[in-house]
Symmetry: C2
Subunit: 170 residues, 2 copies
Amino acid sequence: MADELHQYFEQVVLPKNSSLVSEGQICRHLYFLESGAIRGSYMLDGKEITHWFGFAPEFVTSFHSFSTQQPSVESIYTLEGSVFWRISKVQLSQLMDNYHEIERLVRIAYEGYYIRLEERFVNAHFKTAAERYRQLIEQEPHILEKASLGHLASYLGISQETLSRIRSKR
Amino acid sequence: MADELHQYFEQVVLPKNSSLVSEGQICRHLYFLESGAIRGSYMLDGKEITHWFGFAPEFVTSFHSFSTQQPSVESIYTLEGSVFWRISKVQLSQLMDNYHEIERLVRIAYEGYYIRLEERFVNAHFKTAAERYRQLIEQEPHILEKASLGHLASYLGISQETLSRIRSKR
DNA sequence: TTCGTTTTTTGACAGATGTCAAAAACTTCT
DNA sequence: AGAAGTTTTTGACATCTGTCAAAAAACGAA
């Protein structure tokens, strides 16, 4: 099985600040981020909102588009030089058909992603900007090293200026 | 297989305002909500925050607790008389082991739940209270019929007073 | 290094939202 | 219908946060 797995994956290497997935296009691949870091963002009222970050090693894609095969509302960009291994949706479906074990891995992956998102959602819900920032420092410190202030601010759901002021107060 | 499935599920019938899952307890079951409506909530600074609603027919549980088997941070209450069919995590795991088909159903379910939560997250992220309320009316009008103002407000991430004022302005 | 660009910080101000408190409207039960 | 409880509305006020604009700092390329 390991042999068969390998032949489905294709390596993708991207430099810093390049796009992996573009808004408006259908995302047909699931990517394993082997090394590097990325961010997912979308446009709102002319502003770019970064709503998630991805760090190696993990599976990433524009989940909504990949799952529904609708045009993606988000774009994905590299935050630094990154190496991916990608597999198409069609091929992944075949693998899941052929191997219960693969279907299970994907199920467990989704379960994990769901839980993580739920936690983030709850954390964001009724906390002040400062509390969310403090929580970020505790729970996802790696983000601080790779993301710019603007990316961070939108990730936290606040303006860049407010984040700058929160930072200067300690 | 249908026969075998049936024997794993147990019916639970609850009146209005009763609790299905309580904070602090490990949630060991997945529930199929056959009829009725429920809400999931947690305590924050002495206030009860309702962060999701569930409506028949769908599968519901305290996902974080069910998945990790850690004590639940949320409680689940019925909004009206409701009928559930529950299956234990152990038994569901057995079913998933024995039937690839079941594993697939669960995988697809998680995929759907993830997408839904992501949409809600993005919608909430940078919109004003009024916009979120308008969006709720368009996208989840059924919630309006069952939830009290207080539940709704916390679901939208705003105070009850603010929601009341938004409502009175149209 | 130096110039030009991007990112971050700071200031002034307006507007949205939360909080506390009380009144009003609505429910439920007897 | 009436009493008691709950839910919703309203008012006054403080504060957090966003916006716009400009200055300062950091970064990159030549």
